[in-house]
């Protein structure tokens, strides 16, 4: 085999391994951070018993879930029932393949891009993959053979499809400014000025639709306890439930990473190394997710649909129009 190819493959595998490890670690720590931050915002303390300040709580939760009985309902569609949690978790994780988390670095004479793969249609790849997540939710709702699960799944798919539209359109402005679908190019184009300044409306639309897309609190209707028990994962237990849980956090991290890449300048920043900048911005976004969750109540279903179709969609189209106009005038 060609020597260069072998080295390339080794480097790529190591990068995948590291990125995966970091994401897994972030998911676990996010559980603790979410509970702690939300508790303090709601004038509580949160977990305090397991380890100092409840630091071992995620591990305790994980062990508890591992020991739980793995129940598959008798009348469930077994194949889809088992497939669904995988279908939600995997797309959330593989979106990271195109997200640049640092500048080029040189190790032993080889220059390494700090991105798993830079494909020239990275933007399309992200949306192609992240839309797959909806299938997992719908399949979970259908396969459980439970009315609450089905209603949760239907709601979730309606919500995710509605908001995916605005999610995509909000990023079109950035793509128009950059003139490239590659995420590396988009980050490089933000060296001088971040896109959040050029595209404030786009950023606002992106953040709002991102919340809806990952089913987080103001838009967490698919799992509205008061109406739907637990939504699409009502029938799930043990590690299958844990996978849905992880998928939610993985989705959050992915969506935040996209926000950082498209609007907050990616890894660009003074003084600190690029990877540190990327992680800082990512943590900031994740903190915002938790902050919003501990502040707002849930929207009503019709409000959600009204907001998505009658406000966000026209606004995002308007944003694209304005961006195009300014670009034409400036030449």
């Amino acid at each position: 085999m060609n020597k260069d190819l072998l080295i390339y493959l080794t480097i790529t595998c190591i990068k995948i391994f590291i990125v995966f490890g970091v994401i897994q670690f972030m998911i676990i720590s996010m559980i603790w951070f979410e509970r702690k931050i939300m508790a303090h915002m709601q004038v509580r303390l949160g977990p305090m018993r397991v380890g100092p300040h409840g630091l071992l709580q995620p591990i305790a939760d994980g062990i508890k879930l591992l020991f739980k009985e793995d129940i598959i309902p008798e009348k469930a569609n077994k194949f889809l029932f088992v497939l669904a949690p995988v279908m939600t978790l995997v797309p959330a994780l593989i979106t990271f393949a195109v997200i640049p988390f640092g500048d080029k670095i040189k190790i032993f004479g080889y220059s390494i891009d700090l991105v798993i793969t830079d494909i020239n249609v990275g933007f399309l790849y992200i949306f192609a993959v992240s839309s797959l997540g909806v299938y997992g939710v719908v399949m979970a709702g259908w396969a459980s053979n439970n009315k609450y699960s089905l209603l949760g799944g239907i709601r979730s798919s309606a919500q995710m499809i509605s908001y995916e539209l605005t999610l995509g359109l909000s990023l079109i402005g950035v793509v128009m400014l950059t003139g490239s679908l590659s995420l590396v190019d988009i980050v490089n184009a933000q060296a001088k000025i971040w896109n959040i300044i050029l595209q404030p409306i786009g950023f606002f639309i992106y953040v709002t639709s991102a919340f809806a897309e990952v089913n987080r609190t103001p838009f967490d209707l698919p799992e509205a306890e008061s109406e739907l028990v637990a939504g699409y994962h009502t029938e799930y237990s043990s590690m299958k439930f844990a996978m849905f849980f992880m998928a939610e956090y993985a989705n959050m991290i992915t969506v935040s990473a996209i926000a950082v890449t498209f609007f907050l300048g990616g890894w660009q920043g003074p003084f600190l190394p690029p990877v540190v900048w990327f992680m800082l911005k990512l943590s900031g976004c994740l903190f915002f997710f938790i902050w919003v969750r501990s502040t707002y109540p849930r929207l009503r279903y019709d409000q959600l649909m009204h907001f998505g179709w009658k406000f966000l969609l026209p606004l995002s189209l308007f944003n694209i129009l304005i961006t195009g106009l300014v670009m034409v005038i400036k030449g």
């Binding site: 303090h40 915002m41 709601q42 303390l45 305090m48 919003v292 502040t295 707002y296």
Partner: protein, 142 residues
């Protein structure tokens, strides 16, 4: 539309950065701050002579709505003073109303802040010694 949303965000972030705002009490380690008129278990008080103040008049047993107090009086041979030979309080029956404290003519029964009364036995009766010990631990006499 946006302004009230921002207001909410500001409120929560203020709470987040103010560690004194937390209202949770870490109960077994952190003792609850009880109000001064809190009514816990009725405790027998100790007089100046180091003995119980109770004169076994039986008024507390009489007034008790849940009939949880048993008093058996006796007379001290030397001082001719009445004292309770048996004074039992059934903590399962006690409703912490404080009538015994009000009825007592010599202020021998006072409800203080003893509230951790759970037990592994199927009876929870405090005898005279236990009720006096509660007061002795506080090191107050009058």
């Amino acid at each position: 539309m946006i302004l009230p949303l921002l207001k909410g965000l500001i409120l929560t972030i203020k709470r987040f950065f103010n560690p004194n705002a937390v209202v949770t009490q870490q109960y077994p380690e952190e003792r609850p701050k009880l109000p001064s008129r809190f009514r816990g278990l009725p405790e027998l008080q100790i007089g100046k002579d180091g003995r119980e103040r109770c004169i076994a008049c039986g008024l507390c047993a009489k007034v008790c709505p849940s009939k949880c107090i048993t008093v058996e009086g006796a007379t001290d041979k030397i001082t001719q003073r009445r004292y309770p030979k048996v004074y039992e309080l059934d903590a399962f029956r006690c409703i912490f109303c404080g009538f015994c404290e009000e009825a007592c003519p010599v202020r021998a029964v006072i409800l203080r802040d003893t509230f951790e009364l759970s037990t592994y036995q199927n009876k929870n009766i405090f005898d005279k010694k236990q009720l006096l010990d509660l007061t002795k631990k506080r090191k107050i006499s009058f």
